[in-house]
Symmetry: C2
Subunit: 271 residues, 2 copies
């Protein structure tokens, strides 16, 4: 089963386009975890156990583990293994934002798809096709190309007029002509107009979007812009707004409630 | 001492603009290492011990360690610690090609500058200034912005006409107007004309270039294009051509010879 099939299946089963970002920060998770041996994993585990039936995907951002060095990455490994063993039907997108020339890209692809065993990864397309082929070589995995990021300054470079169009769009147009199947597309939900234009270019591709929670994108606009003709094939990531819905003992219950609320809010715009 | 001062000092002492890329691949290093406990670190150690007086910088590319998971990253840690304890006067550039929105960029910056304790890091500038500020906050460290990569396909997107100029140049021009000090610039040595144009935009910035070895850039052209008015403030990376100069027992001696040869060849174009 390839990524797109796996995503379609769980989106139907859980009736959810929510992607939950597993980005734990030691200063923000409930203080009870700080004394435990694997604080980040222990926190993730409880979050996962109370949300797995409400999401379309999980998305750990590797930066939040790298920041704590080998110890942090060990906790990512525990998290990935836990997800793969217990909830293998939910696809895991490793948000690693990698990108390098061919010989090195091969090593990154090996890391994300073989060592971390992610179902999908985020990658910068700016280096060109030769930097992406080592990722595309993993046929059942999805390589999600970062077309337009969600941050405020993303417009400064990504929107520069290129051949009469914004750069991100000119880049996407070239990509849309490629004859490769197993890539996906990322556009920030904070830019719904851009998301709509890019969805038109890639009507059949699985998409990832982000910025619904702490970044406060307008949900209705973003959902309508991003869904395909069947009202699916995209997931919207939220991290902080769910993970830290409560900092008390009820954090897992609060995260569950927040995920359910977001799921239903998104669904209200799918029809 | 900040990065630029550290680089200036060692370039003078070793009279070298060679940056040696520490990118060990288990299949390519001499077979004797494959049975040892820390094959990548053991290999690096011998390479470092026979080249430290011939280089201006070391540059491990983190992908070559990530590919082997936690075990590989442990060997990178051993390598970084060894360099910092034994050869602290040689700056270490961690080639990580990171880049993410502000909140996440903070975690990456923490990882590369605090955990890995690198002197410099390579970063994608395409997300804009807000994604770079968390790196710039480390005042003595250098954040090297990837302006134009060395791979053949780099021209497909990076050279698209933007405001009448190639995209990489339009991007660099905007960056050159920023009022931040501690960033450096990367341009592939395989594009000497582009390197020259970018050096003109950044006459005082420390630069990194790559592609002299296995990628076969024309050395003379690249060196003349990249050096500043004093014939310095740039290092040229080579990895495979030095690391695998010999696959026999004499690999360290061969690497030393190859480094010396490259150093002298580069120097012949500096005056």
């Amino acid at each position: 089963m390839n990524f797109q099939q796996k995503l379609k299946k769980i989106v139907k089963k859980n009736n959810s386009l929510v992607c939950l970002g597993l980005d734990p920060e030691i200063e923000k998770i409930p203080s009870i975890f700080r004394k435990r041996r694997n604080p980040l994993f222990s926190f993730n585990k409880e979050i996962i156990d109370s949300t797995y039936f409400l999401v379309g995907a999980y998305k750990p951002n590797i930066a939040f583990y790298e920041a704590y060095g080998l110890e942090g990455l060990k906790e990512l490994k525990l998290t990935m293994t836990y997800l793969q063993e217990k909830y293998s039907e939910v696809p895991v997108i490793l948000d690693a934002k990698r990108g390098d020339i061919g010989n090195t890209a091969k090593m990154y692809a090996k890391a994300v798809f073989e060592y971390w065993n992610a179902d999908a990864v985020t990658v910068y397309p700016h280096l060109g096709l030769d930097s992406l082929l080592p990722f595309f070589a993993y046929k059942d995995k999805l390589t999600i190309l970062l077309i337009k990021t969600s941050n405020p300054d993303s417009k400064v470079f990504q929107d520069m007029k290129t051949n009469g169009e914004p750069y991100y769009y000119a880049l996407a147009k070239k990509i849309s002509k490629w004859n490769y199947k197993n890539y996906g597309i990322f556009v920030g939900a904070t830019y719904p107009k851009e998301l709509k234009a890019i969805r038109k270019l890639f009507p059949d591709k699985s998409m990832l979007s982000a910025g619904l929670g702490a970044q406060k994108a307008a949900i209705g606009e973003a959902v309508k812009a991003g869904i395909d003709k069947n009202g699916e094939n995209i997931v919207f990531n939220a991290s902080r707004s769910i993970l830290y819905a409560s900092s008390g003992k009820d954090f897992a219950k609060a995260a569950q409630k927040e995920t359910k609320k977001l799921k239903e809010l998104i669904n209200s715009f799918r029809r």
